[in-house]
Structures are given as C-alpha cells and as structure tokens.
Amino acid sequence: MTPVEQLELEEKVSRAPVMEPGHSFATISDKISSVVLTRPLSIGWLLGLSVAGAFVMVLTTAICYLFLKGVGIWGINIPIGWGFAIVNFVWWIGIGHAGTLISAILLLLRQSWRNSINRFAEAMTLFAVACAGMFPLLHMGRPWLAYWMFPYPNTMNYWPQFRSPLVWDVFAVSTYATTSLLFWFVGLIPDLGTLRDRAKNIWIKRAYGLLAMGWRGSARHWSRYETAYLLLAGLATPLVLSVHTVVSFDFAVGIVPGWHTTIFPPYFVAGAIYSGFAMVLILAIPIRKIYGLEDFITERHLENSAKVMLATGLIVAYGYVIEMFMGWYSGNRYDSFLLWNRLHGPYSFFYDMLWMCNIFIPQLLWIRKFRRNPVLLFMVSAVVLVGMWLERFIIVVVSLQRDFLNSSWGMYYPTRWDWAVFLGTLGFFTFCMFLFLRLLPSISMFEMSTLLPESKVKE
C-alpha cells in the first residue's frame, strides 16, 4: 500500500491521521526549519540547557574524582563487582534500541507514520549509546588503557580472547554506535541542504552548507541515496537485535544463578525496545507541545508507541514468569534460592516494584482513552523507565549478591559517586537533546514531504 492510499484508508477507519491536513511542501519545510532558523532563543530552552549543563558538570566532576581515586569510590565490592556501572550501561543501551527500531525496522515494514519521529528517535539512540559507552570504560579501573580491548599488533604479544562475550560486546557496541551515527547523519544530509538554502545569515548558511556537503537533490543522487538508505535499514535491523543479544550473553554465558539462562536474548531485546519506546514518548510528548509540532506528531504516533510498549511489555512479563517457573520447576536448589532471595531477600522491595512498574501499571495502556492521553502516557512511560532500570538492578545485583557459597555473600549499597555518575549521564543526555532540537531539524522534512498526496507522480 502506498502512503497515500494508507492516508485515505485511515480517513475511512477514523484513526488519528499521521499528519494533520492542510500542509504543502512549503509549509512542512517552513514549520520544521523555523524551529532551527527563525525561532528566538527562549528562556525555557536556556533554563533547561543550564540545568542539564549543571548535571554535565556533576558528571565531569565525578569522572575526574574516579580517575583520581579509582573504582573504590563506588559501592562495588566482592562479590558484587558489577554495580551501577553495568546496570546503567544495559539500561542506556536498551533505550537506544527504539531509535533504530523506528528508523530501520519500521522503514522496512513501510510504516510511514514513523517519518515524523524517526529523526529525534535516532538522535536519542545516539546520545543514549554515548551514555552507555561511558560506563564500561569508567568501570575498567584504568580507562586510559581501553584500546587494549581492540585487536591490534602490540609489543605485549597479546590478542583479545574471542571466546569471551565481553570481547563480543566491544565489537557489538562499537559497531552499533558507528552505524547509528552514520544512519542518522545520512538521513540528515538532504535536510541540511534545505537549511543551507533557507538560512539568511551567511555564517549559518556556511555551517549547514559544510555539513550538507553540497547536496543538491539531483535525481541520480536521490537514486543512490535511496538504495543506500534502504540497505542501511536492512543492515541495522539484524544489528539492533544482535546488540542486546550480545549484551545478554555477558550475563547468560556466566554460570551465576539468575544469569545462566537461554531466555535472556529475546527477553533483553524486548525489554530494550520497551524502555526505548518509553523514552521516545517522554521526549515526544513535551517536544510536540512546546514546538507546536502536533500536526506532525499526532495522537496516532502516541497511540502506536503505546501499543509497541504494551506488546514488548508483555514479552518482558513472559520472561519474568518463565524465570520464576524455572526457579521452581528446575528443582535446582541454587535457582530456587535465587527466586526466594528475589521475593524475600534484602532487595525484595525492588523486585516488587519491578513487577509494579513493568508489568502491572503499563496494563492501563489496554484502554484506548489512556493511550491517547499525553499526560497519562508520559507518566506510564516514566514508570516503565524506572521499572526497566530496576530490572537490570535485580539481574546484576541480586544475582551476584548471594551465589553458591554462604561465605561469599555480600550486600551492595551505591555511594554518592554512583549516583553522581548516573545523574550526570541523564544530564548529558538531556543536554545533547536540547542542543539537537535547536541546531538540527528534529523532524525529517523530505520524508514528511513524501507523505503528501501531491508528492506522487500521476499517470
């Protein structure tokens, strides 16, 4: 079905449209580029940027102190060697997954409603992966030797151990970061050309001109561009599924009860998309309101995102139920103890909250009225983000906390530096989003234009 036929069909079945009527090629590029080119600096934006900037300062302070003192400033210990750093790493990289899902998988499935949210979802992916990438590096203890993880000829006559999931992770995450950046940038090139042509100030014109690399919309260029973009989507699709699979191998290949399970890859990928769509909604709901983009990010987008959350949330719920079932059914005393420890151990409050946040509260989204209510959707999304963070906390901390021998049991308490780094990355993420919104078109103008009926050639 072409996008135009789809629009017509939607009118018949009275779903919310993907774009409000009354737009033309000119109004689309006017409206979207005006956010970047003509809108004056607002107090709200400056204030938001400053608050986020303050948290970036917190992050840099925490990192400096970490480099000075070492990882001992965190709450990690033996047996719990993977504390907040790995919890946050998995959480952030999971959030990134929705961006690639929206831009690549939905493109291949011809879900044209994605055209208005893919750009900022990709930006979100990029910044989330940047936040995620910091944690394993910081957790190393000697981050300045991070390049030792890559295979390169060296005087130590040493090579990485390719049977280790941690080495797989290096390749998966760095490939993912590179691909996300390039996919996002390729998507931006034609719009950067539009901004270059519309900017009045000569320096702004030159800056966008430099980034647009001389894009002029030639039919030959478009043909190669479309092929390359489609292939990138095709390549990013298996990649995004592989990334969280590999992250889950970091756990599943280990023998610790609570980690050593084959259900991890699918359940991690579903959880990643779940939290990612929650973050998309957390960003989209205020952005469409503040920048007046309700014509492009309609109720339809909110509703579809909520449906994706509901579906992936149920897959996650299935994962939890199977974990519990296997704890009982396997008859393995360590697995049964893990289940008991989750339900009644010192962290049982967080396990209960996990069920509340990830499984029970999101069931509200079955009701259509709630799916179309931005305020409620925003709150449910925030709850899901908390829930998904708790899930990683339970997996990392509670599994390590009490393993096979009583003599090696312990407790984990995060320190203020753990919190400083975590809040710092939240600030860094927000800071980057604020800059992105004002410096680059947050909705793809050329892809929105192709949604208009007049963009089609009539026979």
């Binding site: 998966a172 590179t178 030959r220």
Partner: protein, 179 residues
C-alpha cells in the same frame, strides 16, 4: 582541448513532480542524454525518466560485506590458532561457534561503511560548489520546486534550439547556468 563552454547548461523550473517527470521523459526522448533533474525529495520515476536505471550502491555494499566477513573470521582464526593459542577449558583452538558474533558484527560494520562512503563517493560528494547553485531560484530545489537541466556538454545542445525546446515543455522559468 576544446575551449570551455561558459554556459554549464539550461535549467527549467517546474511546479509539480508530475510535470517534471513528464518533461524529463520528453527531453530524454528528444535525444538529450546529458540531463539531470533536481527535487526536494526522492521521486523514483524521475531517475528513470532521465535514463538513470542502475546505481551500483548495492554492489559496493556487497563487496564491503564480504570483505568484512572474511576479515572478521580470518582475523579470529589466525589469532586463536596461530598467533596466540590459549587453551580455554580444553576447547579446540578453532572454536568456530564463538567466532560467529564478531564475524557478524564486522560484516555489518564494513557493509555500513561502504554503503555510506560508497554512496557519497558515487555521488561525487562532498562538493560544496556546483554551477547550479549560481542560479538564485535554485534555492527552491530543496523546498517545493522541481528542476530539469540540459548540460551544455550534450552533443545535441544548442543555446537557441534547446531553449526553444524547453520552453515548449511549459516550465515556470528557464535560467542559463554559468559554469
């Protein structure tokens, strides 16, 4: 060497995608082969209309992917069996199932890099300056207007005849593009 033509081509402006595709088809049929068209968004029919049927992007990506796949696997094979063999729990040195993931990731990485840089290279980008940018109305090519150009290097090109032919296609405007 022939003297350089001071005119790069003749640029005709159209209002809708349908008009520009129609015009491009007629121009191509009239025997002009060195032509191009410009639009603010991709129009599949337009590249067909100017006679551009095959782009080699997919081939470049395939080559990149094969190179990435071989690099990934052979590198791991060489490291794990020849250069740095380590006995891990009695597993064979050539434990191929463990090598699949890095092979896969490098296949994707090399394909992605060749898709992006291959596309840019085939398009001749980056190239910030181009004669068509000298036409003031060309700014609209990234907004809501559609352009068709006949290059002066086309053997059939003749300043007066070509202009008359383009006028017959009923464009909004025709501009000479200085080179």
């Amino acid at each position: 060497m022939a003297a350089r033509n001071p005119i790069y081509g003749l640029l005709a402006e159209f209002e809708t995608p349908t008009e520009v595709v129609e015009a491009a088809k007629k121009t191509h049929a009239a025997g002009y082969k060195k032509i191009d068209a410009y639009s603010p968004f991709p129009i599949e029919e337009l590249s067909e209309a100017i006679g551009f049927h095959h782009n080699n992007v997919a081939l470049v990506v395939l080559c990149g992917g094969i190179i990435g796949c071989l690099t990934g696997y052979l590198m791991q094979y060489w490291i794990a069996t020849i250069s740095y063999p380590v006995n891990v729990g009695g597993r064979p040195f050539h434990s191929w199932p463990s090598f699949i993931i890095v092979t896969f990731e490098l296949t994707i990485l090399f394909s992605v890099l060749s898709a992006v840089f291959g596309m840019l290279a085939l398009n001749g980008l980056p190239m910030p300056h181009h004669p068509v940018f000298n036409v003031p109305r060309f700014e609209l090519a990234s907004k809501d207007k559609f352009f068709l150009i006949v290059f002066s290097s086309d053997p059939k090109y003749n300043a007066d005849d070509t202009r008359a032919f383009l006028e017959g296609l009923r464009p909004i405007s025709i501009s000479e593009v200085p080179s």
